[in-house]
Symmetry: C2
Subunit: 177 residues, 2 copies
DNA sequence: GTTTACATGTAAGCTGTTACATGATTAC
DNA sequence: GTAATCATGTAACAGCTTACATGTAAAC
């Protein structure tokens, strides 16, 4: 399974950095496809540290909140590899948007338009993000995710601007009668 | 927020049925975009029952595991509407596939091919599911989700079969040298 | 007759989010 | 000097999954 620990190892496999940066890079790399909160991140890093899969600068037992740099170890690389090999081609999606739109008939047109606008705004943000590291894809894997992300964002944007909006308008026209 | 409770109300707003059926319909309606386990479903229905948002056949306090039919109440419809209106156009995705592919450079070609094959199999299943209720879209909302789902599945399948596979092949060729 | 699908529910536990507490450094 | 961003971490809690326990009805 790909969990927070594994994602941290993945980011650190591309270079050592701070916990704060790990989260930022995760966002930059995967956009909407993976996200972590600090409440998940730091405990995960602590476990990795205890397991010897990463090492960190700074005193290991200090409570001083000093800045620490984490680096992956050989053991961590092995652990990452074994997680990646076991990964399944699965995806878990939880879409508020799809759920709400499914019940479109129970909602007013302005609510539906707002939902589509919000979704479009998110998608445009994601698209920009994926285009962002198009110029500097350090690895082929990064290029793959960047390209795939762009393709999916564009398909979604096109649908919502065209057919999606049209379905909503048609629904509203029907209701006027 | 669209949670399990809200999804149950949504399904029941289209007709009364059993808990078991609610889960099946959820899968049929949303495919990969929403999913619930029984461990989440039945407690949610129990809460809805306690809140008077649904009513059920069968004795309310029986431990006999008898078959029960749930139906939404007027209060439930109001609750559903207010949840839907508050919904945001957001999506939470957790993609094992994207995460693993991002680190493609650390994986062998056969692992990458297997990942793509698995993803394609899932996508084809999802596509069939969305096409499935194309013939009988009871509401415009259902049609919207069905059409959007088809568009996104097709875009993903096309990418993986073409450019996606090509990136992996190119990566492998580079490694041979 | 026996397997498969239908059907309801509980309990333990994992994972992650939200909110909080704290402080350093940089930019304006 | 002060606002924003960088930076680390904890604690309470929510939510869901997995596994379990139990039984019926239909199909073959």
């Amino acid at each position: 399974m790909i969990d927070v620990r594994c994602l941290c190892l993945g980011v650190l496999s591309l270079g050592e950095t701070t916990g704060y940066e790990v989260r930022k890079r995760l966002k930059a790399y995967f956009g909407p496809y993976q996200g972590v909160s600090y409440g998940a991140l730091y405990p995960a890093l602590a476990k990795l540290l205890a397991a010897g899969e990463v090492v960190a600068t700074g005193s290991p037992d200090a409570q001083t909140l000093e800045k620490r740099t984490y680096a992956i170890t050989e053991k961590g690389r092995e652990s990452l590899r074994s997680s990646l090999v076991q990964a399944k081609g699965q995806e878990q999606v939880r879409s508020e948007f799809m759920a709400a739109m499914f019940f479109a008939d129970q909602l007013e047109k302005d609510v539906l338009d707002r939902l589509i606008d919000e979704r479009l705004a998110e998608l445009r943000g994601d698209l920009a993000l994926f285009q962002g590291f198009r110029g500097s894809p350090a690895t082929e894997g990064q290029r793959f995710v960047s390209r795939f992300g762009q393709v999916l964002c564009r398909a979604a944007i096109d649908f919502l601007q065209g057919e999606g909006r049209a379905i909503v308008s048609a629904l509203d026209r029907d209701r006027q009668r």
